[in-house]
Amino acid sequence: MRYVKISKENTYKFLEHLKATGALYAPQKISDRFYDFCAISDVHDVEFEYDRTIRPPRRFFHLPDEKMFNFDMTRHELTPVKTQAEHIILFGVHSCDIVGLRIMDAEFLDEQKDSYYETRRKKGIIIGLSCLPDEYCFCNVRRIEFVDAGFDLFFHELPDGFLVRVGTVTGHKLVDPHPELFEEVSADDTKNMELFEEKRSSMFSIYGNWDNLRYFLELRMDHPMYDRESEICLGCGNCTLTCPTCRCYDVKDLPAINQVNGERVRFWDSCQFRSHGLVAGDHNFRATKKDRFFNRYHCKNAYCPETTTSYCVGCGRCTYFCPAEINFKRNLMEIAGYRGAV
């Protein structure tokens, strides 16, 4: 892998260059507590030390709602909507969200490629950024705290700038035209990266490896946690909407008022909604709130072969943004008997 260094000051210049090549999105503070990936007009608004964005980066590639087809009911024509994708540069993506995007890729770019997702994803540039965990983070036990794929560039914080890992040819092409901004990595820089990693590792509230979690989940399927916590759950779906790997969607036909034309649209769905498992004849495959609660705990802890991780990347969003303050991490630790600070 190629490594270069960039000073903090030059980083702003680099962001200016990025802005010129496509739509630049980066974390910004949007309220007292919350951050989001926002379109950047002034590069000095970019927030380098943010905890987590309320909306995960998947929304840039799998749109919250999307027109898939136009149709004509009299001529029986279904016409695909051509995806108009602009070049998107996502700066400041944490490792959990990078793995989240790789999980999205695994699902949407398998042998049955979703062309809407694919068109946008191909035009997306991912620039990672190192971070320090808070009490909600548990990416380390998910083996996700340090990524080695899924980014074009990855910025590691140093006291005087960033050590940049160049992950792809696209990454090289971003760095190469600007030799004046980058310098060689020195032994001191590497030492500083080591110290940062050491500091980061020491800040997690729990340690170990949760690969055996899914087995405990199955061996304790009748655990009282499900009853207790699903009782508190509001069924609002915040956990799935903020999740970087949730991808359920529903499709609807919207006929126009002339009863001739119309649109086939898709939009994000949530397994926490009653309608998710509802079929004709009023049968529901996940009829109770507990069924739906249970469903999410198992879905998120299933194994994704493409990333060799669980579908949960340990970003902490589902707990941080839960209005009922249901603690996903604590509940999982309770089932598996893991020790550590909650």
Binding site: M68, F69, F71, D72, M73, H76, L78, P80, E107, F108, D110, Q112, K113, D114, S115, L213, R214, Y215, L217, E218, M221, R247, C248, Y249, D250, V251, K252, D253, P255, Q259, G262, R266, D269, C271, H276, G277, L278, V279, A280, G281, F285, N295, Y297, H298, C299, N301, A302, Y303
Partner: protein
């Protein structure tokens, strides 16, 4: 064989050729592809399903219930149960619908070759199993003895009852046992009781028999107990499941089944599962 366009959610136009009322709520629809190239190359396995698109109403997953041998044509047995299927039931011969698929794994009929075949259907379960049964009849030389058990609550709900009845004469000469039974119908003149109660009439050898079943979970549980006790080889016991298969391609998430170590999409990993999948994945039946 799946023939997809550049956009996997795009459909092929199909023309309704015939509509035939089977029961009060279910009708049989015969379709043909409009595009000759698709018509000549479209293949499917028994147990696979298609997504049927009614513009302005939406898409529904429907099991294919015809013989896989008749190229370019396929039949769907559809219950009028919801908004989309109600619209489908209003179709007239000559009308156009959109089809994509076939999806799902289907029954592994290759593994069935050289074996006896037992098909057990309850209610609407006869729809996908008709495809298996007709496949076996069309490839008669690949199978040993064949038994089909078709059950429903009431006689008027027995799907393909007349079709199976009409086959009975030739069936005996072909070593095919056709058993039709109702569970709650006092006026039904024929056999009564659940599938397990008629297993003594099956003409198959448990040790060398493939089993294909479709019906409600209670029927599966009863049949599993019976079949394992009777010495049927569990490796050749298959069931097909129904879930909300909205996209058919393992994307939309609505047909998710299973638990953390075995998380499956019914549309992609199923809808056909073998006995060992059923006993190791909680929640399948």
């Amino acid at each position: 064989m799946l023939i997809t366009k550049d956009n996997i959610y795009d459909t092929h136009k199909c023309r309704l050729l015939r509509k035939y009322e089977l029961t009060e709520h279910e009708s049989l629809f015969l379709f043909r592809f409009e595009d000759p190239e698709v018509a000549q190359n479209w293949r499917y396995l028994p147990g696979q399903f298609v997504e049927l698109s009614m513009l302005g109403y939406g898409e529904v997953p429907i099991s294919i219930c015809s013989s896989a041998r008749r190229m370019g044509f396929f039949e769907l047995c559809i219950r009028n149960a919801g908004r989309v299927t109600d619209r489908i039931h209003k179709l007239q011969p000559g009308d156009i619908v959109g089809i994509r698929g076939p999806y799902g794994n289907g029954f592994p009929v290759d593994q069935f070759h050289g074996r006896d075949l037992l098909c057990v259907a309850a209610g609407l379960g006869m729809a996908p199993l008709r495809s298996v049964f007709l496949y076996a009849i069309d490839n008669r030389w690949l199978f040993g003895n064949i038994t089909i058990i078709n059950t429903a609550r009431y006689g008027k709900e027995l799907l393909f009852q007349k079709e199976l009845e009409a086959m009975k004469d030739i069936a005996t000469a072909e070593n095919i046992a056709i058993i039709q039974s109702t569970t709650r119908d006092p006026d039904w003149p024929g056999l009564k009781g659940r599938a397990t109660e008629h297993m003594d009439k099956a003409n198959v050898d448990p040790k060398n028999c493939a089993v294909a079943m479709c019906g409600p979970p209670a029927m599966y549980r009863g049949m599993f107990n019976y079949l394992v006790d009777a010495g049927y080889d569990p490796r050749y016991i298959f069931v097909t499941l129904e879930r909300r298969m909205k996209c058919g391609v393992g994307k939309c998430g609505h047909c998710n089944i299973g638990t953390a170590t075995s998380w499956k999409y019914a549309c992609k990993d199923g809808p056909v599962f073998d006995y060992y999948a059923i006993i190791s994945i909680p929640g399948l039946i």
